[in-house]
């Protein structure tokens, strides 16, 4: 599978279908907001959204009624508070009911890892005394055949498609991620298709450190250059996290009409090109 350098609009259209299971991953750092906004603009619906920290990007999908199910482990606006659109969907079925599949971070990280490793499930020491196994039938257990210890087991995560944002691609289509690397390598390798937005495309990676996190070109379906594509998240070495926008989201998302207008102005009537503008000066 050779990488394709294509516009984001095309990459989303070709790789994300209604009803897909999709991960837009990024652990605070490198959250692929531009890719998510393009998917929202294209009205991709009935999605199963997977993400450790749904964050304001999934709040937007949910608020727009595009999510059927959300698989997650921490549904907050990090450091700010609750995800108000997601709350509205769960508590009031507005704009539609969503199904939730809730895990701990350890479970999600292990499940992505198992997906990347081609295993059907992950085992770990977890959920001891916690209530999640009572409400999530996807949490089971296995017994260690050597010690008899009961370990938690969760199914591997295998998205139809994973979207991530990265610092750089080279001209062959290899992709480089550095800084807080999160679970993106695992989320990409666990998926059937991988779309990567990048800040820049460079001729090659000569002179870079041999142990950097790199996805070789043959593991990537499509690459789209979108400067600023993680905003209001950040790209280490390019621009900082726009914490003010995260704080502002708490107000925008608190009101259904304010939210709708914000989405109109900033997503539906925007293009990927706006992200470069938004990150100027950060």
């Amino acid at each position: 599978m050779m990488s394709k350098f294509i516009p984001l609009e095309q990459a989303v259209r070709e790789n994300l279908n209604d009803g897909d299971t999709v991960a837009f991953e990024g652990f605070t750092h490198l959250i692929p907001h531009a890719a998510g906004h393009e998917a929202i603009r294209q009205g991709k619906k009935d999605l199963t959204l997977i993400r450790m920290t749904p964050d304001i990007l999934y709040d937007q999908f949910i608020g727009m009624g595009l999510a059927k199910r959300v698989v997650f482990s921490y549904a907050g606006n990090p450091g700010v508070g609750l995800l108000r659109r997601m709350r509205d969907a769960i508590e009031n079925q507005y704009p539609r009911a969503i199904e939730t599949v809730e895990h701990s971070h350890a479970a999600m990280a292990n499940a992505y890892e198992a997906g990347a490793a081609g295993l059907p499930c992950a085992i770990f020491r977890g959920y001891k005394g916690a209530d999640l196994p009572k409400v999530n039938p996807n949490i089971k257990s296995v017994v260690c055949p050597f010690t008899g210890e009961e370990l938690a087991a969760v199914p591997a995560i295998r998205p139809d498609v994973t979207f991530i944002h990265a610092q750089k691609a080279n001209e062959k289509g290899d992709v480089l991620i550095e800084g807080i690397v999160g679970v993106q390598k695992e989320a990409a390798l666990a998926a059937r298709r991988v779309v990567v937005t990048v800040e820049e495309i460079v001729p090659d990676f000569k002179g870079l450190h041999p142990n950097l996190t790199i996805l070789p070109h043959w593991t990537v379906t499509a690459i789209c250059q979108v400067r600023g594509g993680a905003h209001p998240s950040y790209t280490h070495g390019y621009y900082e996290r726009d914490n003010a926008t995260y704080l502002e989201w708490d107000k925008v998302s608190a009101d259904r009409e304010l939210f709708a207008k914000w989405m109109d102005d900033n997503v539906l009537n925007a293009t990927p090109a706006v992200f470069a503008e938004r990150t100027k000066g950060l």
Partner: protein, 259 residues
């Protein structure tokens, strides 16, 4: 210093529990402030770990999220999130896990998931994140929260993370080998579990706080230690360190996009 707020007292008291020998898994909010005040005062060699994978970090301002860039820039090393949860947390390398809570009961069980029924919640909260395994894998757990009747309840709505369960040897009965909650620091008092029952007991009141104030803001009948102490007021250094940190943080977070 007469103008110390209860939250400041809480944060400073929490910071004092940490030492340079600790390897601390830091939750966001009050735990993060306390851990960094400790690092900037009496525990310069403390190792702070955030679940984003940053190990041995020393941020100049408090991160808004657990993955702010400065955590990585100042860290000894940054690892992938699966490694963080496998080698470092589950691997048993963390001495102290520092958690906040939306709801807590007298045995240190924590709810940050839902108010009301899980499937038909009155309020959907963020959920556990790393807490379920932090609570079982760290050597011990410190908890910090502001007292309120809706926060300190007889019975929590959901066990997001397990403390001492029904008390006594409940952890051991579940095969958990770590100590669990050993310290609760509120804006009014310092609590420690009774050695036998594991019920949190007030061992120290912050300056100016009465037993009644503690009971009025707590949903269960509070037990007080026989030799109840008074928490030393924040020193000038502690208070200035905390306030400087918070001032730097406020400036950094509200800055956002440059004009």
């Amino acid at each position: 210093m007469s103008d110390v707020t209860p939250t400041e007292m809480m944060t400073v008291a929490a910071s004092r529990a940490l030492t340079s020998k600790d390897v601390c898994f830091v939750g966001i909010g009050a735990p993060s402030a306390a851990c960094n005040v400790a690092r900037l005062t009496h525990a310069p060699d403390i190792t702070l770990i955030y679940e984003s994978g940053t190990i041995g970090t020393a941020p100049d301002v408090l991160p808004l999220s657990i993955g702010d860039g400065e955590l990585c820039e100042t860290a000894v090393t940054t690892v992938a999130v699966p490694e963080m949860f496998r080698y470092w947390l589950q691997g048993g390398r963390i001495t102290v896990g520092f958690l906040g809570a939306a709801q807590i009961d007298k045995f240190g069980n924590i709810n940050t998931t839902v108010i009301g029924d899980y499937h038909q919640p009155k309020v959907r909260l963020p959920g556990g994140g790393g807490a379920p395994e932090i609570a079982s894998s760290c050597g011990e757990i410190y908890i910090t929260l502001k007292q309120a009747k809706r926060a300190m309840v007889e019975k929590i709505d959901f066990f997001t993370s397990f403390g001492h369960g029904e008390g006594g040897d409940h952890r051991q009965r579940l095969g958990i080998t770590t100590k669990g909650p050993t310290l609760l620091i509120t804006d009014l008092a310092i609590w420690k579990p009774d050695p036998e029952t594991k019920e949190f007991t007030v061992v120290s009141l912050h300056p100016g706080v009465t037993r009644d104030m503690v009971q009025e803001t707590c949903g269960w009948e509070v037990k007080f230690a026989d030799n109840l102490e008074t928490t030393p007021a924040p020193s000038t250094t502690e208070l200035m360190t905390l306030r400087d940190l918070q001032e730097r943080t406020k400036r950094a977070h509200e800055g956002g996009k440059a004009a």
